[in-house]
Structure formats: structure tokens, C-alpha cells
């Protein structure tokens, strides 16, 4: 069974058809990339999945549940977690507290009493250690390099033990080294079997990372399938003419 299924999803704002009949699915363990020019409806699609944009019509199911029946704050509980386009860290919490915040909300705490269970603190500490944030865990995020802040965001999302991670342009605005760094993190997570849906401008990066590619244009699904084959389709090439593909 597919993990996430979008069935003829439409999001219209007044006259603007931001997403206009998109259908695709994400399989368990898959790293699905979503590309498309500016304004093609990528972020709106993720917003629809996380219920921050209202569906005009269509249906989205996650792990067999229609997400229309799940309040936005409960999406975490069923294992759906996202990051946002801009950095959204809580400025007056330390890196550690930003990560703990998410771990606690996920409810690790309730499992405390059970034998062998992890507390939110231990869980987030382990993640901090694993993703090399130990040096900065007591800093406020505002002072950290951009790449590190992104990393904190991803770790924070991971601390809720998601089934599907939705990443909205995780490497936007980063330099080469930082990109490579994040790409490595994503590869590692993918190798562990975490399902991911990643929005990205940088087609090349997704080609190397993903095992499924979805291309949007003007709110519609332009193509989908194996990444390299999909990217070389004439329609996709045409949609990207005009310099929308980022070239470093």
C-alpha cells in the first residue's frame, strides 16, 4: 500500500488555480523528489498535504487515513512531518530545546515508564550527537550558520520519529559544501528506510538522491517516474527553459 496518495488534488484561491488536479503517490521507503518552476504549485501541494492550505477538491490519504479527518496538529501523531521554505527555528530556545520541543510533543514522554523506552531528552540527545550538533546545542539558532540551522530543522523534524518527511527546499540558499552536507544527511536517512518527499529547485541534486521524481508545472502534474528518464522528457526540459534550473 502506498504511504501517501494524492488523488486529483485541487487548491484554488479565488481565480488562481495554484494546484489543479494533481495525483501521485509516495511508497514506503521511497525518496520522492518534486520539481517544477517557480509558481508551479510545489509548496501549495505540501501545504495541502499538511492542511495549511484548504483543499478545493480531491482527496489525500496518508497511511490509509484521509487527512481531511486529522486536525493539522495531529498530523505529527500519524507520522507526517514537514519543514518550511524559510528557516523556522524558535529564536529564544537553544538548539537543544528546539529539538526537544518536537520530541516532547511527539509523546516520547508518555513512554517513559515503559521499560527500555527512550525519554524525549535521551532521544533528542542521541539525534544531536548523531547529526553532529553537540558543539552548538546550547546556542541560540539565530547566531548559527545557515547550513547548521537547516540541519537543526531536519533533526527537529526527525525527533518526532516521522513515517514521512516532507522537506520544502532544504538546500535553498546554501553554498556547495553545505549542500553536499545536507545531501549526505538525506542519503543516510534514505538508506535507513525513511520515506521522504523533497521539493527542490536543484534538479541535479534530486537526480542523484531520489528514486522517484514528480514534475509540476502550472499547478498540474507534468510528468513522473524514474528520475533520470523523467528529467530528460522533452516537456520537462521545455518547462525548465528560461533558466529556472539552478546552475551553480
Amino acid at each position: 500500500m502506498s504511504l501517501l496518495v494524492l488523488d486529483d488534488v485541487k487548491v484554488h484561491y479565488g481565480g488562481v488555480r495554484a494546484v489543479d488536479g494533481v495525483s501521485f503517490s509516495v511508497e514506503p521507503g521511497q525518496l520522492c523528489g518534486m520539481v517544477g518552476p517557480n509558481g508551479s504549485g510545489k509548496t501549495t501541494t505540501i501545504n495541502a498535504i499538511t492542511r495549511t492550505a484548504k483543499l478545493t477538491s480531491g482527496r489525500i490519504t496518508f497511511d490509509g487515513t484521509d487527512i481531511a479527518n486529522v486536525p493539522p496538529f495531529k498530523l505529527r501523531r500519524i507520522g507526517l512531518v514537514r519543514t518550511f521554505q524559510g528557516i523556522r527555528l524558535i529564536p529564544d530556545l537553544t538548539v537543544r530545546d528546539n529539538i526537544r520541543l518536537a520530541a516532547e510533543q511527539h509523546g516520547h514522554k508518555r513512554r517513559k515508564s515503559r521499560a527500555g523506552a527512550v525519554t524525549p531528552d535521551a532521544f533528542s540527545e542521541a539525534l544531536i550527537e548523531r547529526f553532529g550538533l553537540s558543539d552548538v546545542k546550547n546556542e541560540r539558532p539565530g547566531a548559527l550558520p545557515y547550513g547548521t540551522q537547516r540541519r537543526v530543522e531536519i533533526v527537529r523534524a526527525l525527533s518526532t520519529s516521522p513515517k514521512l518527511l516532507l522537506l520544502d527546499e532544504p538546500v535553498a540558499g546554501m553554498n556547495h559544501a553545505e549542500r553536499a552536507d545536507i545531501a549526505n544527511v538525506l542519503k543516510e536517512l534514505h538508506a535507513e528506510g525513511l520515506s521522504m518527499l523533497i521539493i527542490e529547485h536543484d534538479l541535479r541534486m534530486l537526480l542523484n538522491l531520489s528514486d522517484h521524481l514528480v514534475v509540476l508545472n502550472f499547478g498540474k502534474l507534468l510528468a513522473e517516474g524514474e528520475p533520470h528518464a523523467t528529467a530528460s522528457l522533452p516537456d520537462v526540459q521545455r518547462a525548465y527553459l528560461g533558466g529556472s534550473i539552478e546552475r551553480d
Binding site: 529564536p91 529564544d92 537553544t94 530545546d97 546550547n138 546556542e139 541560540r140 539565530g142 547566531a143
Partner: protein, 398 residues
């Protein structure tokens, strides 16, 4: 900012908080030591009177009048050898129209060797400090502070301002006889307790007693800026006379708009109308307006003690005494009468002395001869004042 926030560690919050508490404590401590109360003279060698008044704040106008009169009265009494041979030490403190500040100052007075407190003017302050005075057994004489529940606090709490309702029969008689009014309308504000009582209970009865019928009773909240509708309603019944029980700017607005609308009949109001509204108006709008009070600075009063006060006060200060000056003078007069009655100057003696003064028919003061007391509140018939060219005059024919 940025750098600062970057150096914060969460564990330090506690330490900083404790530091904050330390600063806080330091502030409290310095707060308590900053107002050293000079020890007063002991009973017998003198009498220490503290005046708490709104020298700044929303009632500053009245507070300054009380302060001036206090200084005048103490100088006068001390020049005559004090009260029963006790020289008066006067302390004047500013309550800044704040009940909290007034409470603190009353507390200072209680801990100090103050023998009596004279307070003016806001009711909300008086309500807050009267229980403190009563508990400490310190006599407190209120100037103005017209709300219910102040003198009811206990035997130490007195009021030197007679209730405004006392003056209404005289005003009604004047409006009927001198202004020849047959009908009247009234405007009042709903958020001022005395206004409501006076306009809805006292005035209809007093005016009814002299045969004046009330055409309409119009109310508003005291913050309302628009009175055009109120004016239209007041005038709809074509009354001969309009009484206003508003406060401050509303009196000015109402009188102006009534006159602009061509109303030529009599207009009247309450005690503070002159100072509070008429002084701000031009003579053609304000001349001839009448209001009641316990006193007017005139030497034509029907009792000698009032005329004497007016003359002496004008001679000493060069100013016509106001109602508030007179009430303050009488507050000291009550303390003096109480000390003479009991023969001693302790707090308890003044309290019992005041009771003796009241039971023996009062004393002669600026507001009357005698000023009698009912339920620890002064009780005089009052006078009708007519405003002429920016001055209070005794309305003719009383």
C-alpha cells in the same frame, strides 16, 4: 541584541532570576527607607496634623485649594497661640489622585505620631484609606469625598462637607421664587454616583415640593463627547430651568450648546460648577448661572463666622475664598473644637472630642454657625451661588 541572545545559556535563567529578585528586594527596601517619617512632637507639647490631598492628578484643582487653605489656617491658629496652647505642626502630602499612593501616605501618617488626618478629595481614595485610619484609631476628616460608605467606616471617620442633597431645598426655592420657573429638566451622568442620586431622587423631590414639574431627565456616560442629542431632548419639553449634574467638560459642552440653541432660561448645577466649568466659559454664556454649595466667599452671609472668614482670608491671601478653602478651614475648626472639648490632643481624645462637639450642637465655622453633624457628616443648609463675571457671588434674595 543578537550577540547578547547568542551568549545566553538556559541554565543561567535561574541565576538571573535570582538576581532580578535581588534587585527587586533592594528596590522594596530602599522604597521603605526612602520616606523617613520625622518623629512628631509628643502630645501636650504640640499637635501634629497631616493633610493628604490631590495636589497633582485629576483632582489637582481641589487639592491645591485644600493645601493653600491648610497653610493659611495653621498660620492663623498658631499665631493665636495654637489649639489649647498646642502649636500645630502641619504636614501636607500629595496623593496624586491615586488610591494606592494615598494608602501608603496614610500608613506613614499612622506610623508617624500624627494626631489627626485631613483628607481631600476623591471618594475612591477616601474609601481605601478610611479603614486604615479607623483601625489605627486616627481621626480622619474628609473634605468633599461624597461617596456613601466613608463616614460609615467607623467613629474616627468624619466629613466636613455637608451632603449635596442638603442644599437642594434652598436651590429649589430659589429657582421657584427668584427665577419663577414652573418646569425644569435635568441632565446627569450615570457613572458618577452622587450625580445619579441627586438627579433621580433628591432633585425631583425638592423641586416637586416647591411646585416645579420635571419635563425630562436625560443621562449620559461622563465620557460621551456628543451632547447634541441630549440638548435636543432637554429642550423638547421647553423647560424654564435646566439643572446639570454632569462633571467637567460635559458641563461646559452642555451649557454652551444650550445657549447656542437659544435657551434663555435659568441653568443650574452642583457645588463645583463654577470652578469646573463656568470659569472656562465667556461671561455672556456663564453670567447668571446658579449653583449650590455650602459656602460662598462673600461678606453678605447670614452668619458672622462666615463673613469673618471671608474677610480674613482675603486679607491674608488676596484671593476670594472658595468652598474648598472654607471646608478645609472648618476641618481644622472641628479638630480645634474637639481638642477643646476633650482637653487633650491624643488620637483617641480627638475622636471622642469630635463626638462631644457633635452632640453639643456643633461649632461656628466658615460654612455655618453652627455647623452641626449628622452621622459624623457636617449638616448645613448651604447657599445658592450666582456666577457673575468670573466670580462667585451670593445669589440675591436668600
Amino acid at each position: 541584541m543578537k550577540q547578547r541572545s547568542s551568549t545566553k545559556a538556559p541554565a543561567r535563567r535561574r541565576a538571573l532570576g535570582i538576581l532580578g529578585l535581588g534587585v527587586a528586594t533592594a528596590l522594596i527596601v530602599s522604597g521603605c527607607s526612602a520616606d523617613p517619617a520625622a518623629p512628631g512632637s509628643s502630645a501636650g507639647a504640640g499637635i501634629k496634623i497631616t493633610v493628604l490631598a490631590d495636589i497633582t492628578g485629576k483632582a489637582a484643582f481641589f487639592g491645591t485649594a485644600i493645601e493653600e487653605a491648610s497653610k493659611y489656617t495653621v498660620d492663623e491658629l498658631n499665631a493665636k497661640g495654637g489649639i489649647n496652647g498646642n502649636q500645630i505642626t502641619l504636614t501636607v502630602k500629595d496623593t496624586a489622585s491615586s488610591a494606592a499612593t494615598a494608602s501608603s501616605l496614610m500608613n506613614d501618617a499612622i506610623l508617624d505620631n500624627t494626631d489627626a488626618v485631613i483628607f481631600g478629595v476623591l471618594s475612591e481614595e477616601a474609601l481605601a484609606i478610611a479603614p486604615l485610619a479607623q483601625d489605627a484609631g486616627i481621626p480622619m476628616i474628609n473634605v468633599q469625598a461624597a461617596a456613601d460608605g466613608i463616614t460609615e467606616t467607623g467613629d474616627a471617620i468624619w466629613r466636613i462637607t455637608p451632603p449635596q442633597g442638603n442644599f437642594y431645598p434652598k436651590l429649589a426655592e430659589y429657582v421657584s421664587k427668584q427665577l419663577k420657573a414652573k418646569t425644569a429638566a435635568v441632565f446627569y451622568v450615570t457613572d458618577n454616583a452622587p450625580s445619579v442620586t441627586l438627579a433621580t431622587e433628591v432633585m425631583p423631590k425638592a423641586f416637586g415640593d416647591v411646585g416645579i414639574s420635571i419635563t425630562d431627565s436625560v443621562s449620559s456616560s461622563s465620557t460621551e463627547t456628543d451632547l447634541t442629542t441630549a440638548v435636543s431632548r432637554l429642550l423638547a419639553g421647553h423647560p424654564d430651568y435646566i439643572q446639570t449634574q454632569a462633571i467637567g467638560a460635559q458641563n461646559i459642552a452642555l451649557i454652551t450648546q444650550l445657549r447656542r440653541a437659544g435657551f434663555t432660561g435659568g441653568i443650574g448645577g452642583g457645588t463645583s460648577l463654577g470652578a469646573n466649568a463656568l470659569a472656562a466659559l465667556s461671561p455672556d454664556q456663564s453670567n447668571g448661572i446658579v449653583y449650590y454649595s455650602s459656602f460662598v466667599g462673600s461678606d453678605q452671609l447670614p452668619y458672622a463666622s462666615g463673613n469673618d472668614f471671608t474677610k480674613a482670608y482675603e486679607a491674608a491671601t488676596g484671593k476670594q475664598p472658595t468652598t474648598f478653602n472654607a471646608e478645609t478651614y472648618d476641618a481644622f475648626g472641628l479638630i480645634r473644637a474637639a481638642v477643646i472639648a476633650s482637653g487633650k490632643v491624643s488620637r483617641a481624645d480627638i475622636v471622642s472630642g469630635m463626638a462631644q462637639v457633635a452632640s453639643k450642637g456643633g461649632f461656628a465655622g466658615a460654612q455655618g454657625d453652627p455647623i452641626t453633624f449628622k452621622d459624623r457628616s457636617a449638616d448645613t443648609p448651604g447657599v445658592v451661588i450666582q456666577w457673575e463675571d468670573g466670580k462667585e457671588t451670593l445669589a440675591p434674595g436668600q
